[in-house]
């Protein structure tokens, strides 16, 4: 019988690492995506994501179930990623190197080569543009555009009001549109 998320969390709280592994397997990609959008460098994102789940495991007993598990783990991820990004803001050269490395990776989505190329180019420009936003603006647009979290959930994660989420999101979208111009 497959365990529900609630059962898995309860088992984690009793120290069952295997139960936590199941939860991690379910959410690690989504967590990694948001972290990658904030810290920009894949290896750094991997480190921060691992730290996120490690902290999650260590603090699972404090999880009261007032929010969903992914909102809870997202809060840890976003806070760690923002801290990391503020501490280790990488230079433009490193970013370009990473962009080249990323562009060389095979794209598993879609079969239309023209669309793939266009998407990859747009994606590179978009990620370069997003890196110019502040960590708070990045986090907000990533949580909304990538995860589809509600303003309420984002506000809870970021520790700000829904109005602040709305204005940050409006500003971030405006800035990205300006940077991308006709490419969008």
């Amino acid at each position: 019988m497959e365990l529900t998320e609630r059962d898995l969390i309860r088992n984690c709280q009793k120290g069952d690492a295997a139960a936590f592994e199941e939860l991690a397997a379910k959410y690690y990609r989504r967590v990694l995506m948001v972290i990658l959008g904030i810290v920009h460098h894949r290896e750094d994102a991997m480190e921060v994501a691992q730290e996120t789940f490690y902290k999650g495991f260590r603090n699972i007993k404090s999880f009261q179930g007032g929010s969903s598990f992914y909102t809870w783990i997202y809060r840890i991820a976003v806070n760690l990623a923002i801290d990391f990004q503020r501490r280790q803001k990488r230079g433009a050269a490193d970013l370009r190197e990473n962009m080249d490395e990323v562009a060389a990776e095979p794209d598993s989505l879609g079969t239309d080569p023209y669309r793939e190329l266009r998407d990859r180019e747009l994606g590179d420009k978009l990620l370069a543009a997003i890196d110019e936003l502040t960590a708070d603006h990045k986090a907000v647009i990533l949580m909304r555009a990538v995860e589809g979290l509600s303003y309420k959930e984002i506000g809870r994660i970021m520790g700000c009001s829904e109005g602040t989420v709305m204005s940050r999101l409006h500003y971030a979208r405006k800035k990205l549109q300006e940077k991308l111009g006709p490419d969008l």
Partner: protein, 176 residues
């Protein structure tokens, strides 16, 4: 600010389904009849979709096994650190080393007692002591009071022996 500027400020929140129904209806009505705002709406949708695609493409090859191995390593490091602490505590509290407890307890008690004495906690409210020195032809008496840190010195002339029943010397005979 034009009507379009005003509507475009709400476009993102409208697409996110975060506007109250009356405001959402107003935005929807405007977008249906305004080509510029409809184009802006599509740009926001393309932006969000492109961002999601770009990030999905970059994590699609991130396998779980190496990821979890990193998390497991961290958990293992944490456990060994705890184990080390527990081992140390077990070692210290083991029977042959219990002898440590006695000097440690003694030091703690002395420190506690000294602190109490130093700050005067639980001390009697007022203590005074009287000392006297008898010399040939002179007697000296000292009164020391701890609370107000007062010292009073009496000098007496020609009183060879201490007389508890003697009357207090006159004020003119005192010297300070």
């Amino acid at each position: 600010m034009t009507e379009c500027d005003r509507i475009q400020e709400w476009l993102g929140a409208w697409l996110d389904g975060e506007l109250p129904s009356a405001k959402a209806a107003e935005v929807k009505l405007h977008v249906e009849k305004c080509a510029a705002c409809a184009a802006e709406k599509e740009r926001i949708q393309r932006l969000d979709a492109a961002l999601k695609r770009a990030l999905e493409a970059r994590v699609s090859d991130a396998a779980f096994a190496p990821f979890w191995a990193g998390v497991r390593d961290r958990i293992a490091r944490e456990k060994s650190w705890r184990d080390r602490v527990f081992d140390w505590m077990r070692g210290v509290l083991a029977f042959p080393r219990l002898a440590w407890a006695i000097p440690v307890a003694a030091v703690v008690l002395i420190a506690l007692f000294s602190t109490v004495r130093y700050f005067g906690w639980f001390a009697p409210t007022n203590l005074a002591s009287v000392e006297s020195i008898d010399g040939h032809g002179f007697n000296v008496a000292l009164l020391r009071e701890a609370k107000t840190k007062t010292t009073v010195i009496w000098l007496f002339e020609n009183q060879e022996t201490e007389d508890d029943n003697s009357v207090e010397p006159a004020a003119s005979e005192q010297a300070f």
